[in-house]
């Protein structure tokens, strides 16, 4: 079967509430892509073309050189640029050899539009991120009374 193996998608929260048949259909759209350790997978500021799911390996997320997060098996990234057509919002670098499954824009769009459940899940995870970002802004704007985590660079 072409595409990603169904098992690769089943562990991903984004697809968790779909039935097997739906997962199979979606899996067919993906293509495997491998990155070597140290390779830059996505560069901040660049135009975005694909959405990726990590099947194995680890990656780190940075912005302006500062590390923001780490990603591993089951995590996904790259959806934001595909949704709003803007530049990549962070840089992602493979910390180990990475095996991903990717969808380009032309397959991602229809997938999300046709499947309300997936769209809802994406909205939920984006809302979570928005809250976290808002909280950091509030925190940084307040006068600091001690050593502040996440203080500006």
């Amino acid at each position: 079967m072409p595409g990603a193996p169904v098992e690769a998608l089943q562990g991903v929260p984004l697809f968790a509430e779909l039935d097997r048949h739906e997962v199979e259909q979606i899996a067919r759209l993906f293509k495997e892509r491998r990155f070597n350790q140290g390779e830059t997978v996505i560069r901040e500021g660049s135009g975005g073309a694909a959405f990726f799911l990590i099947d194995s390996g680890r990656a780190k997320v940075t912005l302006g050189g500062k590390e923001l997060a780490r990603l591993e098996e089951g995590d996904y990234f790259g959806e934001i640029a595909l949704i709003d057509g803007g530049p990549r919002s962070a840089t992602i670098i493979a910390e180990s050899d990475l095996v991903c499954f990717g969808l380009t824009y032309w397959d991602f769009g229809p997938l999300v539009q046709d499947n309300g459940l997936i769209a809802w899940k994406l909205l939920q995870s984006m809302a979570r991120e928005l809250r976290t970002a808002q909280q950091s802004l509030v925190f940084m704007a307040a006068p600091s009374t001690g050593p502040a985590e996440g203080a500006q660079s």
Partner: protein, 546 residues
């Protein structure tokens, strides 16, 4: 005084008083420990010899290694020496003393050096006892050191006539040194790398069908070279002689870290193939160039033009010979000895790979052979890793005091002024020395895409540095790939070191309609980041605006 920190977390301190200039041309990567131990003193002696022989107003050139990178400094001459030097400079031009040096080279030094190299080469280091191997290492090192001194001692003879020619002809024609240098190339009947042995090789192989067949075969190059060597008759002995001459020379560079020709049989075999098939039309080109320039010289100076050019042609081969027959060969021999010592240390279980010994200092090498304390394999591997992962682009161009202007030529006696100017041009071209009056703010390359643009230069090596470019910048880089296409809308012009009119950079510059000058050779070395430049894509010139 300037101390500089670079982004790669190396700390650079001036190695002594004065102005120190980076030499990325001869040493683009950090050097080995052995080289830092051996080179500076030998180099200083040689340049002091040169300075006193030619009546230069310096006491030689100092070299120092900071984080493995080479820095040069002109050494101050005692005031009381100055009148002697003035007198000597006058003598130099009056009696064409470079000819004396050339004679000394041909009749004494070159044959003696070749004999000394062959003597060392005849020893099989793997067959020596540990004690004898240690003595051999020291012997090779002493020889290498003497040869480095010799190389520099004869530099004046190679560079003064050229510099003198460039200075005079530059004044008469307004042409830049970079352009005139083309006239000095190929003027020797044997160009770089060629020799009597090579001539003989070409003749012998050309007449021997079995040699020609072997040469063209697709078998393993090491095997082909060995077979060629053992052919009966003239071909075999010509190949042997040639390989003995060039085999232990590094193919490029000076340090013992550079592989020798025989270690790269593929490249060596290829270059023999091409040379034997005899494609060399460059000679006829030079004569056309020369007539072209001569026509631009005012008639009253043409006799002197011919005279100056004749001196250049006489001495030109010394440019290559003084290195090839001195320290380049000696370096190859030292490398050979070090690799044998490395094998010895591996057999004794002290290091893991013979090549690791390249990163040891001389005493460390001797210790690792005789079994007394020495660096670990890990330490040596770390040094090697350092060399492989850093380049002169990580190092600041200047350390120490800001460069002071050279003495005012109008206050010097004519011969001294003429000498200073000639040597300044030549040495400036060789070392990037700050003695060169920076009248040369002009770079030439190929006119790849029309138009003229002025703006700040941005030196960008690759995608990791793309976010440094802002709208209106002039991209200055070695060469471009499709990854650079993203930058195009931001750029006012493109300047590259490499590439031709049909390369990627040239094509995209034309497509985007921005001025482009490619193939400048040195733009990334000569144009500092942020400097304002004018790029003239109509004539292929880049001017650094001050």
């Amino acid at each position: 005084m300037t101390n500089q920190e670079t982004s790669s977390e190396l700390f650079f301190e001036p190695p002594g008083p004065g102005t120190w200039t980076l030499d990325p041309v001869h040493f683009p990567r950090p050097v080995t420990r052995y080289w830092t131990e051996t080179h500076p003193a030998a180099f200083l002696r040689g340049t002091q010899n040169m300075a006193s022989y030619y009546g230069m107003l310096i006491d030689g050139l100092g070299t120092a290694y900071v984080n493995g990178f080479a820095y040069n400094s002109m050494r101050h001459l005692d005031e009381e020496q100055v009148p002697l030097r003035f007198g000597r400079a006058a003598e130099v031009f009056q009696n064409k003393l470079w000819r004396e040096q050339l004679r000394e080279w041909d009749e004494v030094r070159k044959p003696a050096s070749i004999a000394a190299h062959r003597d060392l080469q005849a020893v099989d280091p793997d067959a020596l006892s540990d004690e004898d191997l240690v003595a051999y290492l020291r012997r090779c090192r002493d020889h290498h050191s003497a040869m480095i001194t010799q190389h520099m001692s004869f530099t004046g003879a190679a560079t003064l006539p050229v510099g003198d020619f460039l200075a005079h002809v530059g004044d008469w024609t307004g042409l830049a040194p970079a352009e005139l240098l083309g006239l000095t190339r190929g003027s020797a009947p044997v160009s770089a790398g060629a020799s009597a042995q090579l001539e003989r090789l070409i003749a012998a192989i050309g007449q021997d069908p079995s040699a020609l067949a072997l040469l063209e075969s697709n078998d393993d190059p090491g095997g082909v070279l060995a077979s060629l060597r053992s052919l009966p008759g003239d071909a075999g002995s010509a190949v042997s002689d040639y390989l003995d001459l060039v085999g232990f020379r590094p193919l490029d560079g000076f340090d013992i870290s550079e592989p020798s020709a025989l270690e790269l049989p593929d490249s060596l075999l290829r270059s023999i193939r091409v040379t034997v098939s005899g494609r060399d039309l460059a000679g006829s080109d030079v004569n056309d160039l020369i007539s072209g320039v001569r026509a631009k010289v005012p008639p009253e100076h043409r006799d002197q033009f011919d005279e100056l050019l004749a001196e250049v042609r006489l001495t030109y081969r010394l440019r290559d010979e003084r290195g090839v027959y001195s320290d380049i060969w000696a370096s190859g021999l030292m490398r050979r000895a070090v690799l044998a010592a490395g094998r010895r240390a591996v057999a004794a279980g002290r290091i893991e790979d013979a090549g690791q010994l390249i990163d040891a200092g001389l005493e460390e090498m001797c210790s690792l052979v005789s079994g007394t304390a020495g660096p670990t394999a890990r330490e040596l591997a770390d040094r090697s890793q350092y060399r492989a992962t850093h380049s002169a682009k990580d190092a600041p161009a200047l350390l120490g005091d800001p460069p002071s202007p050279p003495p005012d030529p109008s206050k010097l006696p004519p011969a001294a002024a003429r000498l200073m100017r000639a040597m300044g041009i030549s040495l400036g071209a060789i070392f990037g020395s700050s003695e060169v009056e920076h009248e040369e703010h002009l770079l030439r390359g190929l006119a790849a895409s029309r138009g003229v643009y002025e703006g700040p230069a941005r030196r960008v090596a690759g995608p990791a540095e793309f976010d440094r470019i802002v709208q209106g910048d002039v991209l200055v880089t070695e060469s471009t790939t499709e990854a650079f296409n993203i930058l195009l809308p931001l750029l006012g012009a493109i300047v590259t070191d490499n590439g031709g009119l049909l390369s990627h950079s040239a094509i995209v510059a034309r497509e985007y309609g921005i001025p482009g000058v490619v193939g400048t050779r040195d733009a990334t070395e000569l144009i500092a980041d942020g400097t304002r430049v004018r790029v003239d894509g109509d004539v292929g010139e880049v001017t650094v605006l001050v």
